[in-house]
């Protein structure tokens, strides 16, 4: 990976989330083994930050073209098919996150107006944990868009060269 000069907001969020998760988990281990004092209720925070991390990280992974997929067949497609497949793939990935977001927002709305459920360990309203998914998925859409643009660009230049 090239070290980029400017700090990017998505990178910053991903790094902060991962470090926070590791730090909380480590503090837990230390306090349990050294001081025989457990605040394992914070585990709840760690695993929910993990969900947020996955959303931000997926966005960066999309942008870097790093999502795992089978490219064997794709590589032998004619260029026009490849372009179509790239666009189709972007639309499906975006659609998937839109669906997740819609029902997540629905769940948040229900929680705030109706259920008002709180988390089992810390008593935090659960919608606070939920809200990271739709908010952070902005970076997923951005990543999908950037990668698709880059891939199409590359396919176009290839075509121009041939």
């Amino acid at each position: 990976m090239k070290p980029n000069k400017k700090l990017r907001i998505d990178h910053l969020i991903a790094a902060a989330l991962l470090f926070a998760m590791a730090f909380i988990a480590f503090a837990n281990v230390i306090s349990r083994y050294l001081f025989h004092f457990s605040f394992s209720a914070t585990e709840e925070i760690t695993i929910n930050l993990f969900v947020w991390l996955t959303v931000v990280g997926s966005g960066i992974a999309f942008e870097r073209g790093g999502q795992l997929g089978m490219v064997t067949l794709f590589n032998v497609f004619p260029k026009r098919f490849q372009k179509a497949a790239v666009i189709f793939s972007a639309l499906l990935s975006a659609a998937l996150f839109i669906i997740v977001d819609i029902f997540m927002i629905q769940a948040i709305y229900d929680e705030i107006t109706l259920f008002e459920a709180t988390s089992p360990a810390l008593g935090i309203p659960v919608w606070i944990y939920y809200i990271g998914v739709p908010v952070l998925s902005v970076f997923v859409f951005k990543g999908i868009y950037k990668n698709t643009a880059a891939q199409l660009n590359e396919l176009n230049t290839d075509q121009a060269e041939n």
Partner: protein
């Protein structure tokens, strides 16, 4: 619409190069919608598929691996083995195998090991007259099999799907991991002897070796902390993972002094992305297998498989063959989610031990990943040597044959996997 049609949709999406996570998610969403299974739960299911304490070991082990890589620990491990083994026939080849093994004992992922060790050892091997495709194939294979050596992300995922203790799986992987390492080193030695790949220089003297040992000391301690903690029951795998994160951070900051804020930032981002690539698949694969299960597809598929043969060994051989083929095309994590839910009832019907089977399963998948024509690790290796995959793939064949031999031995002698977890009281 029949559930088979939906499975077909998944395979078509995957074949045209749609990311596997997206393919799984979209076909699951269509199924949920079609069978009216409660589409409103998709959001919550996505998040609950990720929010699990055992799975936290995934980002933590990845982070620890990236940290140690950036700290430069791989180079000092390689240096130590070079001073001891470098002079022997095929010396550098064997140095590569043992470095991969040790790296595998600190990092949990195959391609990451290929990249870390490959960057250090490929160039010297090629410089000393090794065929570059052979060198690439060797490192791809050795790193791939290193996923059997704990800690291993593949085991964490297997444990999370099957509810087998990840700690027990880690300990069960120790002996098979060492066996495959020795097997790979043996093949490397025999080929080197035949082709006349000589050793590099005089063996290091005691003073040099001690110095190298001192430099690599912090690296060698790491597996002892991770595995020792799990083996003695002090840590869960997730706790061991987070301890190894802070251990590597300590080593990088204070021993090797190779960490700046800027690098640390990149390390965190890289680890976050690598972990997310896995968790993206895990989240949607979870929804996918849930839909396959409530629609009764898994039971039907399992029944079909059980009817194929009444003999457990025949069954395992057939499944292994299937896994080897799948592993050539798809990554180990996706396969685990696609195959394990169906296999669990099958294992039960044949009273096959799921802990022992976990090692067999992951070994078979690992072999697939290092096998022509596709094999994800072969790609990483081909990239590093600037060659093409076909050339590397051809050289990988003898290693794959050895791996299959070891897989057969592990299948025939379950004690190789089960003895350690049993005496550790983990199983």
């Amino acid at each position: 619409m029949d559930i088979l049609v939906l499975t077909l949709i998944f395979f078509i999406l995957m074949l045209i190069g749609i990311p596997i996570g997206t393919s799984l998610g979209i076909s699951a969403v269509i199924t949920i919608f079609q069978f009216d299974l409660g589409i409103g739960m998709v959001g919550i299911n996505f998040s609950s598929g990720i929010a699990s304490f055992p799975l936290l070991a995934v980002p933590f082990f990845i982070l620890a691996g990236v940290l140690m890589d950036k700290a430069g620990l791989a180079a000092s491990i390689a240096r130590f083995f070079e001073l001891i083994l470098g002079k022997a026939t095929g010396g550098l080849a064997m140095v590569s195998v043992f470095t991969c093994m040790f790296w595998g004992a600190m990092s949990g992922s195959g391609p990451a090991t290929t990249a870390a060790v490959g960057l250090i050892l490929l160039a010297p091997m090629i410089k000393h007259g090794y065929d570059k495709n052979f060198a690439g194939a060797l490192i791809a294979n050795a790193s791939d099999l290193s996923i059997i050596i704990p800690p291993s992300i593949a085991f964490i995922i297997y444990g999370s799907i099957t509810n087998v203790s990840v700690g027990a799986l880690f300990v069960a992987g120790i002996v098979p991991g060492i066996l495959t390492g020795i097997g790979t080193a043996l093949v490397a030695y025999l080929i080197s002897k035949k082709r006349g790949y000589h050793g590099i220089h005089q063996r290091g003297n005691v003073k040099e070796i001690l110095k190298a040992l001192k430099d690599a000391f912090w690296a060698f301690i790491s597996p002892i902390i991770i595995l020792g903690g799990i083996y003695t029951g002090k840590f869960t795998p997730t706790e061991a993972a987070v301890v190894s994160v802070f251990y590597s951070l300590f080593v990088a900051l204070f021993i090797y002094r190779s960490l700046t804020w800027r690098i640390f930032m990149d390390v965190l981002v890289d680890a976050a992305v690598t972990s997310s690539v896995i968790m993206f698949i895990v989240a949607f694969a979870g929804i996918f297998s849930w839909t396959a299960s409530v629609t009764g597809f898994i039971d039907q598929a399992a029944e079909c498989i059980i009817r194929i043969s009444p003999n457990a060994i025949v069954m395992i051989i057939l499944i292994n063959l299937l896994l080897l083929v799948l592993g050539m095309f798809i990554d180990a994590i996706s396969i685990s989610y696609l195959v394990m839910p169906v296999l669990m009832p099958v294992l039960q019907a044949f009273s096959i031990d799921p802990l022992w089977y976990g090692v067999i399963f992951i070994t078979a998948l690992a072999i697939g990943q290092a096998t022509p024509p596709v094999g994800v690790n072969l790609f990483t290796a081909a990239n590093l040597i600037g060659g093409d995959v076909d050339g590397v793939a051809k050289q990988a064949i003898p290693f794959v044959l050895m791996d299959i031999l070891i897989l057969i031995i592990l299948t025939l002698i379950p004690a190789l996997c089960l003895y350690l977890p049993k005496i550790a009281g983990l199983y």
